[in-house]
Symmetry: none
Subunit: 200 residues, 4 copies
């Protein structure tokens, strides 16, 4: 249990430090100090600096995936499912701003650098959206001319971009519900007025 404790302390510290300084500007010694362990101790739990980053990501995103999957399991309406996904995601990102930054910036950055980091949990995560869309199409609720693979990206890209508001000084006053509402409104119904929409 002590092992788990140290491991966990390092993950938390690393998330904080990566978010604050960025992966490349973060020093192992920064993380060690934040976690209140010796520099060398970190190497008893992680292979190297990249490994810490990946672990931060895997573990933290893993928790969110579990939570969202559980919530989704109780729902069958694809409209509600997207709402759950968006809300849970935004809540997590607002709650854990450090993780938000790490996901949005550092992970993309390094994802292309760590060649042997594949099939990660992030794909599992975004694939949830694709599955929901396919489900909605099967249920004849979502348009068939929507390409789930592209729509997934559109949904997720939008979600990430709007969640950045809490990590920048500007526009920090929006609530999760406001943002979630706007995103779902647009994603589900679009921005055209109904009558104009018909005209297209």
């Amino acid at each position: 249990m002590k092992d788990i404790h140290k491991h966990s302390k390092i993950i938390t510290a690393a998330t904080k430090v990566f978010a604050k300084k960025g992966f490349f500007n973060a020093r192992i010694s920064d993380i060690a100090k934040e976690a209140k362990v010796a520099d060398g101790t970190i190497y008893l739990y992680f292979n190297n600096k990249y490994d810490i980053l990946i672990s931060v990501f895997e573990e933290e995103i893993g928790k969110i995936v579990e939570q969202i999957k559980k919530s989704l399991a109780e729902e069958t309406d694809p409209r509600k499912m997207l709402e759950i996904f968006a809300t849970k995601h935004l809540q997590s990102m607002k709650k854990n701003k450090n993780l938000a930054e790490v996901i949005q910036i550092e992970l993309r950055q390094t994802n292309k650098l760590i060649k042997d980091y594949r099939n990660n949990k992030f794909s599992d995560y975004t694939d949830l959206v694709e599955e929901i869309i396919r489900l909605g199409q099967k249920q004849n609720i979502y348009c068939l001319d929507v390409e789930p693979g592209i729509a997934k990206r559109i949904f997720f890209g939008a979600l990430e971009e709007v969640s950045r508001v809490w990590n920048t000084s500007i526009d920090g006053h929006y609530t999760v519900d406001e943002i979630s509402g706007q995103l779902l409104k647009i994603f589900l119904s679009g921005i055209l007025l109904p009558e104009k929409n018909a005209a297209r």
Copy 2:
């Protein structure tokens, strides 16, 4: 003219190297070699490594902004305007994959690090979307319950995420028009079937 030539060669080389290796893993010597100049020559045109990154961004995005603004000036329909924006953006990103990566990853990354880099051209760029949406609302074409500041982020986040398909090995077969079409379809009309939409 020779100055401009060297300057330009270095910008191009840097864009390539940053995209391939990432800012922090890029070496000045890599850029110099790519530009076929001596390491020291780079410092005749740029103050330091960060300065190169910012210059890459400012110059390249500047070109795109100019091009899009020109195209938009000839159009009054807000629906067409978003289409122009999306298509031009995607074309630019597909054409200049290196720049796409730099914008999407490196700039976010370093934006928070270079404190004195403000009022950048990127804001000008994304603000174009916000203006188009406000215009559409004035013309009674876009819903008034859409918040332009959030919608801008939704549109842009989606746009960036979908444009990443060309920089990852997977799904690279989509065309600009396919993706642009999907994005505009969803953004403008949503993914719900018309009848379901009315039901909401």
Copy 3:
């Protein structure tokens, strides 16, 4: 104790390297090699290259000051006191030729460059001479028309210049006593009152 050991080894190595190559031509790697430590180890004990130079000086001169002060404490005759000062100084310089060079050359050089290096031990050192002269004047042994501030410089300048004989190939055959004797003969006979002079 191990710390002290490494620290001390680096000081000794740096003194040697600075003396041989001069501060600006000395490489950190030269010092590290001489001290048989890694380059990086040096930075565990010193902030930067200038810090090494100052430390070399402060520590080594400190030892000499202590030694001379102790010897002077047991003496009351200002004539003997100058003799003690001169002899101890020359002995130290002959013994530690590297330090001699660092004091005579490098320190002057960098003294003007390192603006925040003030109130140094070197002033304490030369001020000892001034105090001895004032003491002699009080005791009616040294001429009152001698300006202690200038005389201090004359004595010290002479002392340093003569001590250089051991660091140049020529004239290295002089002994400490010969040189000390010549210097004191000239300096003392000059500043003694005529009656004291005759008494010698």
Copy 4:
């Protein structure tokens, strides 16, 4: 004549820059800017950076040597001769503080580094003092137990050290005559035979 002009301008500029920044911190471009010529032009007149330093020294000290030799030629009293030497030296150093710094600091520094710089004019210069002392001994005015080679160093070391007062912020209020007077008083009274001393 134009050649001489440029050459001279560079020497003057270099003296200024070396004095201000020190040899190692002086940039060729600093000297070029000060001399209002292009960087490359300097290499039409000097082989390299060291060559400039040596030239600065040789040319400037050469002028002083000539001047002092001329003055000495008109004098036969060894006491007066030392006075002339001291006064002229101090006047030169006070007048040309840049040169003073270069002589006192930079030259020593680099003297040991430039192996092929030998038999320089500086030796000619200091040897003048030795000759005067020998002359005085022949004339039975100076003590025979004074070793001219050491006395030369004592005199010159003292002279240099006192001349530094004008290049440091402190004690800058002394005049050439005050300092020269103190130095000669101390130095002369010491080496004069008792009867000559009394005669003064």
